[in-house]
């Protein structure tokens, strides 16, 4: 259950970014979590919501993109999604392939809105 720590790190990055952009409010943080990253998206969302509740970031949305385990075939250069740990190239049957995706634990982007003081 280290997703809370991951959620904290995301919020830390959002806050750092926001401090550098006075007048802008963060609305959405988009993260990319690889299948091999050992992070459960539901638990991450739960932790994220628990940490932002009743804070200035309560309205911040979290978008999670799950990145598949992708391999690159050393013979025919096909990039493919590995299903059920079957690593062989589905096109040419080559066994020697290299992992090129699935370990991601990244913040892709942040959506920000210009701050407008309410008239109320």
């Amino acid at each position: 259950m280290h997703e809370i720590g991951i959620a904290e790190a995301i919020l830390e990055a959002v806050k750092t970014e926001t401090r550098q952009r006075p007048g802008w409010v963060p609305r959405k943080a988009a993260v990319r979590i690889g299948e091999l990253a050992a992070v459960n998206p539901d638990t991450l969302r739960f932790g994220f919501e628990a940490l932002t509740r009743e804070t200035e970031l309560e309205s911040l949305q979290l978008e999670i993109e799950v990145a598949p385990r992708r391999h690159l075939c050393s013979r025919c250069n096909l990039q493919y999604h590995v299903l059920e740990f079957d690593l062989r190239c589905p096109q040419c049957g080559q066994e020697s392939t290299r992992c090129v995706g699935g370990e991601e634990l990244e913040i892709a982007y942040l959506e920000m809105e210009a701050y407008e003081p309410s008239n109320a």
Binding site: H2, I10, V31, A38
Partner: protein
């Protein structure tokens, strides 16, 4: 709405500290091994054998992580090497900052091996780089042979998989061949060892692996 592209690692702060540690360890020629397994797979027992049997000219230190208690450090201190317990107080893994903080009393130049015994857990330690040269995962025969398929991340990231407690094989329904096949499915390049600390099978192989890995590491750091 304005989109700010970050493309930044979520654990970039951890990775930065781990990167610094890795550089320092490479400069001092210290081989750092991060031992990972479920609770009760034999990490501490393997370390006891290691401290007891490694040639005495090596200088060794151990950081051992648990949620509570100093029990493991007390077990390991008997061998006369510096040992420090990291109690995480609830956190299910070690992170690079905990390692960095607990290394301050030691001079890395005086160490040949630094062993880090992670908190017993096959999930979270996979996400945290500690600056180690190699992750080593232990799987005991009293667990299921499908552990590599259930926890692929850690088996994928570990250079060496040690199947422990093989002295129990006559008494447990563990399929050794299937365990090794499952490991290779997840990580075709992994090295696999079978070991028992009770009847000593495989312990020499592990000590050899450490010493070979250590010389490889030294050559590598000379090159840079």
């Amino acid at each position: 709405m304005n989109r700010v592209t970050l493309e930044k690692k979520i654990l970039s702060e951890n990775d930065r500290i781990a990167g610094d540690l890795r550089n320092r360890l490479a400069e001092s020629g210290t081989l750092c091994v991060n031992l990972i397994s479920s609770p009760g797979s034999g990490k501490t027992t393997l370390l006891e054998r290691t401290l007891d049997r490694l040639p005495r000219n090596y200088r060794v230190a151990v950081l051992t992580g648990d949620i509570q208690t100093e029990n493991d450090a007390n077990r390991l201190k008997r061998f006369g090497f510096p040992v420090k317990q990291i109690t995480t107080g609830g956190t299910c893994h070690l992170d690079a900052r905990m390692v960095e903080r607990n290394l301050t009393d030691w001079t890395l130049d005086h160490l040949d091996f630094l062993f880090i015994e992670n908190v017993g857990n096959l999930v979270c330690p996979a996400s945290y780089d500690l600056g180690e040269a190699a992750k080593v995962v232990l799987l005991s025969v009293s667990e299921g042979e499908d552990k590599p398929l259930k926890y692929p991340a850690i088996f994928f990231k570990s250079e060496l998989v040690i199947i422990t407690k093989t002295d129990l094989l006559p008494y447990v329904p563990f399929n050794l061949v299937a365990a090794e096949e499952n490991t290779r499915r997840v990580h075709p390049g992994s090295e696999i060892m079978r070991l028992s600390c009770i009847n000593d099978d495989g312990v020499e192989g592990w000590l050899d692996w450490l010493q070979k890995r250590k010389s490889a590491k030294v050559e590598l750091s000379y090159r840079t």
